[in-house]
Amino acid sequence: MTTLERTDALDALGTAHDAGPRDYWALLKPRVMSLVVFTALIGLAAAPTGVHPVVAFASILCIAVGAGASGALNMWWDADIDAVMARTRNRPVPSGRVSPEEALGFGLGLSVLAVTMLAVFANFLAAGLLAFTIFFYAVIYTMWLKRSTPQNIVIGGAAGAFPPMIGWAVATGGVSVESILMFLVIFLWTPPHFWALALFRNDDYRDAGVPMLPVAAGEKTTRAQIWLYSIALVLIAFAPAFTQIGGPVYLAAAIWFNVSFLSAAWRVARRDEVAAAADRHRAEKKMFGVSIVYLFALFSALGIEAVLRAVFGDYAAWLVLF
């Protein structure tokens, strides 16, 4: 969609009505926010240094608000394509309940508030990482990559991968191999997860002119890429088991869920669009579901390891290789 078409589409959205609290809540993309809260919390809990529960709560709240703010900025910019896609048509801006200007002000205001308060509550590194995440999602991904390259989701995935790193920085004030590995797991998980969705939501993205990989490069390439990224993900996902945040529970979860992820990816990769259309994208939908459980399970395992270390001390030291 060109800038001119985008402006026309925004004009066509009409005058905003008085929005209720639920509309502002929806602007924060609460489902994305819940994933951010979860992974940031695990990043914070897995860190070797403890944080006072009140400071931890306040910091996680700032990270959640920062993520919500970037969601509001995304909805402000993407209102034109949201109005075209069935999945997003009822969002507050395209439905006319919140004006684009209001969404912009809301997103910018909350961004500044979240970053400033995180600097006060935790430290400047955590606040800097949060600011960079908001900038990356709102500007690099939403305004630039999403509409210009089929690799949008690959690079844009970094924005969703930062929260555990921010949580870790809140506790330790630094960046280390463990937090980089948590980042990499989400970073490599994002492309196969969204491409599986794009395979069965292809029409939506095509109508909106978003160059998702199945639209720009075709289904065959997308299926091959899903397989390649899944292999890279599985290799990286084992690594945390052998660091100080891992242990036997994480290793067992990594074995079980990596096998399940790879087999779901293989079923998607080996078939073509005719077979997919015949059973209404059953394998693709299955893989999308498996990928959600996968990320939740691996990070939950890291959380369990943190609890076990708190109770039994350094019980899995024999497994630490780096």
Partner: protein, 51 residues
Amino acid sequence: MTSPEEHELHKRRKARNYALLAVLAGFVLLIFAVTIVKLGGHAGNPSAIAW
């Protein structure tokens, strides 16, 4: 007498104002709680507080 549309508008505005009140009150409480935690046992000796 107000029309049904106006009534609905006022209801939404009122809900929005109450939500804002709750958020502001929560924010004040949060700042207060973090301040108490950060001060810890060093309220009489600010130079010993680890920020």
